[in-house]
């Protein structure tokens, strides 16, 4: 029943006009899910999406057919591109474990556009990732949002970035103290992790205040201009609410710590992983925080992931907590989780297909503030599309093709 036609790309591989015809088209926009739907793509953007009966496919368009088409999936937090497939020092650029506060490091400066794992996750429909530093540092640094493929034959981190500094990443729980404690360096306890973060946020507020004073001073005396501090500058944008803070926390009490700090500094904050989120769901709902739900199939290491539940996503969503999916971080084999697989498990364990598809696409886009570009197949948005030969969540279905910015960037070999 495979009905994806081979696509013969004539001429340049980009700036194509492509018509996707799908038995079931998940637009994830106001048009909803359409039986026998068509998406028209021109110059990397969606130019039309609707029912086949109400649309005419213009001449010159290449045709792609599939049973199911969906918007590209969004992995809301990962280190893919920074943490390479080989897992050797040469390709591990995610954890600057030399200082517990690395607020000034930028994913952009580690992101390797040629990382094979980017190709791998793209082959499972992931077209956008928020990628950033790993799980070690209490203040880990700046995440960016990237497409998983370049366009027009080029691929650089700058070109693939939708946003260079999309979030400041914080880590609570086991990993920071396990990295620094044995080196006789703080943090050796959860207390110190929290203190370190609070102190830095406080310093950022003071720093911001100094700059504001200088900027609003009449003379703007150059000799009194505060010295630039890259860490505090980055953190000040967080304390100002310009950039969200993402707290990775697994255990219920670590989640509570994240909420405590976020409220103290009135941060625009989200939780990532939240392995025990289902236990803290009422607390989370009251805090108004979003949860980037971690992989339920993550390897259960240490104590903090012991209570991982396949129903976490469903229980959080049922409690009214906004959710999206993150592939988290894996330090060994397998090197990466795939959010399509994790979403499928969530779908089958209480979340259901509709909510799961939203969390993978439009909800994730809204949560990351990039819904003007991605997350649904609507006119004017990036043509990021995934084609399936069956139920996207079934283990035995295949991703037949993936388009990023209207370019065919993965096609299954038959």
């Amino acid at each position: 029943m495979r009905i994806v036609a081979c696509l013969f790309l004539a001429g340049g591989a980009w700036a194509q006009q492509i018509a996707i015809e799908a038995d079931t088209l998940y637009t994830q926009g106001p048009a909803g899910t359409i039986r026998n739907g068509v998406v028209l793509i021109d110059n990397g953007k969606v130019v039309a999406a609707g029912a086949a009966t109400q649309m005419q496919i213009p001449n010159g368009y290449q045709h792609l057919r599939a049973k199911v088409a969906t918007p590209g999936f969004i992995d809301t937090k990962t280190s893919v591109g920074l943490s390479g497939i080989h897992n050797v020092a040469a390709d591990q650029d995610q954890d600057e474990a030399t200082d517990p506060n690395t607020a000034d490091v930028r994913a952009l400066d580690s992101f390797n556009p040629r990382e094979p794992l980017l190709d791998y996750v793209r082959s499972f429909g992931v077209t956008t990732v928020q990628s950033g530093p790993g799980p070690i540092n209490p203040i880990a640094g700046q995440a960016g949002i990237f497409k998983t493929a370049g366009s027009h034959g080029a691929a650089s981190a700058d070109q693939m970035a939708i946003r260079a500094y999309s979030a400041m990443l914080f880590n609570l729980g086991e990993q920071p103290k396990q990295a620094y404690g044995p080196k006789n360096k703080a943090p050796a306890t959860r207390m110190a992790t929290a203190e370190l973060i609070r102190k830095a946020l406080l310093d950022a507020q003071v720093y911001r205040h100094k700059w504001q004073e200088w900027e609003t001073s009449e003379k703007k005396d150059a000799s009194k201009q505060p010295a630039r501090d890259l860490k505090l500058e980055a953190l000040a944008r967080v304390t100002q609410g310009e950039v969200p803070a993402i707290f990775t926390a697994h255990r219920e009490d670590d989640i509570a710590t994240a909420i405590r700090i976020a409220q103290e500094f009135q941060l625009k904050a989200m939780l990532s992983q939240a392995t025990e989120g289902y236990l803290a769901r009422d607390l989370i709902r009251k805090s108004g925080m979003t949860v980037l739900v971690g992989p339920a199939m993550q390897r259960l290491e240490g104590l903090q992931t012991e209570n991982a539940s396949l129903e976490n996503a469903a229980l959080l969503a049922d409690a009214g907590v906004p959710i999206a999916f993150t592939s988290g971080f894996e330090g060994y084999v397998p090197k990466n989780r795939v959010i399509l697989f994790e979403a499928a498990v969530a779908a089958a364990n209480g979340l259901g297909a509709e909510r799961t598809m939203r969390a993978l696409t439009i909800d994730a886009a809204k949560i990351l503030g990039i819904a003007d570009r991605v997350g649904s197949l609507e006119v004017g948005k990036d043509a990021d599309v995934v084609l399936f030969d069956g139920d996207p969540f079934e283990y035995t279905s295949h991703v037949e093709a993936v388009l990023v910015n209207g370019e065919l960037s993965y096609q299954r070999k038959h």
């Binding site: 129903e311 469903a314 795939v338 498990v345 089958a348 035995t396």
Partner: protein, 442 residues
């Protein structure tokens, strides 16, 4: 810890209750995959005293008088899974050093070690495996050593390792090559290279050959009535290796890269041992060679390649390539690399990669049992075999299918309808009382 104890006590009571009812078990109406034969659309499975006594179509199999018949209509029954490569109970949950007994990293040659001396029967990992439909497992030492030790072939039942062990099953011998044993190199010890790994294995096996020769000589002298014949001194390292040389104990060999697999075959040729290729990440590259030599291959199906160099060329289509080449394939967890609850899922991913559904099911069951020399007692649903089976809510390879019950020798060891069991299927077993009532989505 106290909480764990309570959970175990509860489960023991329930096992006791189940035992009283286990003499005669009849399930009727399910779609049955016997694996050893064609699928039965509406079948009957009859179990007496822990053994399968009949399996066939509804109407074609007489149901013993007085039997309580459980209606299994709409459900699917498959043989319980056999995991040829697991570390449950020895690689602990939670993963803390106090309970971790997986790698004796004090020397690369450890044939005297027995996994059974370290397996913790109350470890939650064992209950997770039951929740995933696993009945039989080969629990092994880790892959940090060239010769890791004696593996334990167990059924996931009982509260002591003695109850878990399968009577008459010797277990395997864990060996490893490639990246992991080279860990000694970072400490300035051998092996620091693949060359030394092979040399260490060969040196040790040559010692075992010599020991075997002395033992054989003694046996012959004794048989010839020589009163002064003296047995060689007992050697705990070499005794189990003699069993390897005699083909009684299968070498379960961790190996990833194609050239490392060929090194294993080179050793097997030299010492004539029986071997199962474990992991075989690059086995697909030499599928024809493995098929020609009839080398069985137990593979792991993971979510992504990488994490170590020898896992770089992991291929989701690898199991399918091996199947098509005619290699006997099993699928394992290497728990905790893959959580045992997701063993069936691994096979589903293999199907996505092109394996036949029948082949994937066989890889989880009969092929795996055969790789442990247990094919005559488990791995398929046939009269006379142990009644090890799983009741599923739907097709084996659908994401929406749940394991409803796992039976070992006719006793239900996992029952999704019991809240305390459900926590192992969904996760959250350690917060039992606080787990939201919402659990158990269809």
């Amino acid at each position: 810890m106290r909480k764990c104890g309570a959970a175990v006590a509860i489960s023991l009571v329930l096992v006791g209750v189940a035992e009283a009812q286990s003499r005669l078990v009849v399930l009727r109406g399910a779609r049955i995959h016997p694996v050893s034969g064609p699928v039965i659309e509406r079948g009957v499975l009859i179990v007496e005293n822990g053994k399968i006594t009949a399996v066939g179509a509804v109407g074609a199999v007489p149901i013993p008088a007085g039997a309580t018949v459980e209606d299994a209509s709409g459900k699917v029954i498959i043989p319980a899974l056999v995991d040829t490569h697991s570390h449950i109970g020895i690689g602990p949950r939670p993963s803390v050093p106090a309970n971790n007994d997986i790698n004796e990293g004090t020397g690369p040659i450890q044939p005297a070690l027995r996994a059974l001396d370290a397996i913790y029967p109350a470890d939650p990992g064992i209950r997770l495996a039951q929740a995933g439909g696993v009945a039989t497992a080969n629990i092994m030492p880790g892959s940090g050593n060239v010769i890791g030790g004696q593996t334990a072939y167990v059924k996931l039942r009982g509260s002591t390792i003695e109850e878990m062990l399968i009577p008459g099953a010797l277990g395997g011998m864990k060996m490893a090559n490639g990246e992991n044993p080279k860990g000694y190199g970072t400490r300035g010890l051998a092996p620091a290279t693949r060359m030394a790994e092979a040399a260490l294995a060969r040196r040790t096996l040559i010692r075992a050959q010599e020991y075997k020769r002395k033992r054989d000589e003694y046996d012959q002298a004794k048989a010839a009535g020589k009163a002064d014949a003296k047995p060689p001194e007992r050697d705990l390292e070499l005794e189990p290796l003699v069993e390897v040389l005699e083909g009684k104990r299968i070498v379960q060999h961790h190996t990833h890269r194609a050239d490392d697999i060929m090194t294993v075959l080179r050793l097997a040729d030299e010492f004539h041992f029986r071997v199962v290729i474990q992991h075989g990440t690059e086995a697909w590259k030499i599928a024809d060679e493995l098929a020609r030599r009839k080398i069985p291959c137990s593979v792991i199906i993971i979510d992504s390649p990488g994490g170590k160099l020898e896992a770089m060329d992991y291929n989701p289509e690898g199991a399918a390539i091996l199947e098509r080449a005619g290699v006997k394939v099993a699928i394992h967890t290497d728990d905790n690399i893959v959580n045992s609850r997701f063993l069936i899922r691994e096979a589903a991913i293999a199907v996505r990669g092109g394996m036949t559904e029948a082949g994937a099911l066989r890889a989880l069951t009969l092929n795996a049992a055969e790789m442990l020399d247990l094919g005559s007692r488990t791995g398929s649903l046939e009269p006379g075999k142990d009644a090890d089976f799983v009741v599923l809510s739907g097709p084996p390879f659908s994401v929406y299918t749940k394991v409803l019950a796992t039976y070992i020798e006719g006793k239900k060891v996992f029952d999704r309808s019991r809240p305390e069991d459900l926590r192992y299927a969904t996760g959250g077993w350690d917060v039992s009382g606080r787990y939201p009532k919402l659990g158990g989505a269809q």
